[in-house]
């Protein structure tokens, strides 16, 4: 079932975006009532959760609450949603332009680098070990045509590119990797992590299994103390992807962190996925990746290459949505008559 020759390049399924209608409604009113023609970047919050159905991936979702409210400057969304297991908050930046021309003219490569640099800095300073959600960031560029209620937009999920790429030793369903006793204990430990409001939205973690098949889930900052106890250690993360032979996008910056902070050449990872809201080791994956530390990665000053603009039906182009039906007063009046 491994389905991969050893030594093949580890290939990741890209994050996918989903925007709730309420996000565009709030952006429109924010633009009309507060932002005006101000084009400064706006900090926003996206939400994701582990894959919860074997046939569909989870998405990075934007809701009305992703935007700062009109009344006060600071977004309270992140603080409010803490502890909601279906909404792990991810930081993002919105660049909303005033014209379609300036939308097209945005320098996408350098915007992506700006966001990637934040990830790179958080890895080097160790902030990402303390607050692992910092490893996944996103970028949204948009043009809101409030005359026609059309919204043009494009997401990017920046990742630091390992060069040469990581290779795969093996990859298999977690239910095959663990013994029965271990699997039971790992499931219980992960469910406990997901059910506690303190850890439910912490998307990166360590799974430590002792010789008696007893598993515990720990914070990344406990990595050093895990080195001396001789337990089997896996790098776990909430995997939004449902595919049986590919890990999801968040593993990429995770590998970068592991490589920079802990200098590991061989990494055993757990793509944590759920079914009906509970740990599902049949769809979760355990794999081993080999990393060759790229040149210059020890140096905080040399930012590696980054990629991550979202694909739309196989191509890297922006998306657009028309909300005239729910926003155009003329149409609303006609449909209400």
């Amino acid at each position: 079932m491994a389905g991969h020759d050893s030594g093949s390049i580890l290939v990741f399924a890209q994050f996918q975006s989903a925007v709730d209608e309420g996000f565009w409604h709030r952006l429109s009113s924010l633009k009309l009532n507060k932002l005006g023609i101000d084009e400064s970047p706006i900090p926003i919050t996206g939400y994701y959760a582990p894959c919860s159905h074997p046939q569909v991936s989870n998405h990075l979702t934007l809701l009305a609450q992703s935007l700062p409210s009109e009344s006060n400057e600071q977004s309270s969304a992140a603080a409010m949603s803490r502890g909601n297991r279906n909404r792990c908050p991810i930081r993002g930046t919105l660049y909303n332009t005033n014209t379609i021309e300036s939308f097209h003219k945005l320098d996408k490569k350098s915007l992506l680098r700006v966001e990637a640099k934040k990830i790179w800095d958080d890895i080097h300073t160790g902030r990402a070990v303390e607050d692992s959600a910092l490893l996944s960031r996103f970028l949204l560029i948009s043009f809101a045509d409030l005359k026609k209620w059309n919204f043009h937009y494009w997401f990017a999920f920046p990742v630091l590119v390992l060069d040469p790429p990581a290779t795969l030793v093996d990859l298999m369903p977690a239910s095959q990797y663990f013994s029965l006793e271990e699997a039971e204990s790992v499931s219980a430990a992960c469910n406990e992590w997901r059910n506690s409001s303190l850890t439910a939205d912490v998307p990166f973690f360590l799974v430590s299994t002792d010789p008696n098949s007893h598993a515990t889930v720990k914070h990344l900052k406990d990595w050093e103390t895990c080195q001396s106890d001789g337990h089997k250690l896996l790098f776990g993360f909430y995997d939004p992807c449902h595919l049986p032979h590919n890990p999801g996008w968040p593993l990429r910056n995770y590998l970068a962190l592991i490589c920079v902070r802990w200098n590991l050449k061989s990494v055993r990872f757990l793509c944590y996925r759920e079914s009906r809201g509970f740990a599902d080791l049949g769809s979760s994956l355990v794999g081993e990746a080999l990393i060759t530390v790229p040149q210059g990665w020890r140096d905080h000053q040399s930012l590696p290459n980054a990629v991550g603009w979202e694909h739309n039906k196989g191509r890297q182009v922006p998306r657009s949505i028309s909300l005239a039906k729910s926003m155009d007063p003329t149409r609303l009046a006609i449909s209400a008559a």
Partner: protein, 313 residues
């Protein structure tokens, strides 16, 4: 039809504003829920089925009789792998309608005695015939969608391609066409929609109310009219209508709650006649089972393995 519906909505809105929310339990007598019972039942749903969560929704739409952080329940990204029309046959065979219309108690229990079998059958053994139907219907609906719309509504990707097309070369990115190739059937691109299913409290009818927001395979918002394809065809446009969501932006499809109390009362009577004392915290499990007969293809109806009583007898 539309006018009477609107008049009724206006009337209902006025009544909701001037009457107090129900505080005395009439769960067993009328099949309805008080506000606090809705919270109890919602808390139980969230703890047993953790893909559901409470949300506060739009601050401007907040209802004062509900706690601000528990305005409504929602589960997101629920797959809907085929259109309702293509499961109509199995649905009829399973006796979905008996639930609403048949006075015979056995009819209801027969439907819900084996919902698992039904879904297994649907998922694992799609007959060639139903697959054909799915394909044709899905293709047709997409064409008609575009036919109905004004030109300005259709975003032409070619317009953006030139200024924006960006090529990132990276060996470790899975080409997105791959994802389609991984799908088991070639027509799956058209079939896999996802839904956000939400449950609100309807103060007028004193029952929960279900809302659907649909997305296509690339997670773009579906027109609410297309959502009706995923609703049992007997209910589309009759019990399922398209209205403003009480806590979110935009128009969403909803199962109209006018008969919810009566149906729930019937379900509770059946349970009690079997000697099962229904508990109010399980109301939403029963309710979602009933809603599953109206929306047969959306796979949110899970972890319902609680004791319904001796229905196997």
């Amino acid at each position: 039809m539309a006018l009477t519906q609107r008049l009724h909505e206006a009337f209902k809105g006025t009544v909701e504003r001037i009457t107090a929310a129900r505080t005395v339990s009439a769960f067993k007598e009328k099949g309805v829920l008080s506000v606090s019972e809705f919270i109890i039942a919602g808390d139980n749903l969230v703890s047993k089925c953790p893909t559901w969560s409470w949300e506060s929704g739009e601050p401007s739409k907040r209802k004062s009789y509900l706690p601000s952080e528990k305005q409504f329940l929602i589960t997101r990204n629920v797959p809907c792998l085929r259109r309702a029309a293509s499961v109509e046959e199995e649905y009829e065979a399973a006796g979905g309608e008996v639930l609403l219309d048949n006075e015979d108690n056995d009819g209801w229990l027969a439907t819900h005695g084996k919902p698992k079998d039904k879904s297994d059958e649907v998922e694992n053994l799609p007959s060639m015939e139903t697959l054909e139907i799915t394909k044709h219907r899905a293709v047709k609906s997409i064409i008609s969608e575009f036919g109905d719309q004004d030109d300005e509504d259709i975003p032409d990707m070619a317009d953006y391609e030139e200024p924006d097309n960006l090529v990132e070369v990276d060996a470790a990115t899975l080409p997105s066409t791959y994802i389609v190739a991984q799908e088991p059937d070639d027509d799956n691109i058209l079939r896999t929609r996802t839904y956000d299913v939400s449950v609100t409290y309807d103060k007028y009818y004193q029952t929960p109310r279900v809302w659907l927001t649909g997305y296509d395979e690339s997670r773009m918002l579906l027109e609410p009219e297309l959502v009706l394809e995923d609703v049992s065809q007997d209910h589309a446009r009759k019990t399922v209508t398209i209205e403003d969501h009480p806590h979110m932006s935009g128009k969403h499809a909803s199962v109209h709650p006018c008969r919810h109390g009566a149906v729930m009362k019937k379900i509770i009577d059946v349970l009690m006649s079997r000697g099962v004392e229904p508990e109010v915290d399980k109301y939403l499990f029963l309710f979602l089972k009933f809603v599953a007969s109206v929306i047969p293809t959306i796979e949110y109806d899970y972890t319902m393995d609680f004791d319904l009583g001796s229905s196997s007898n």
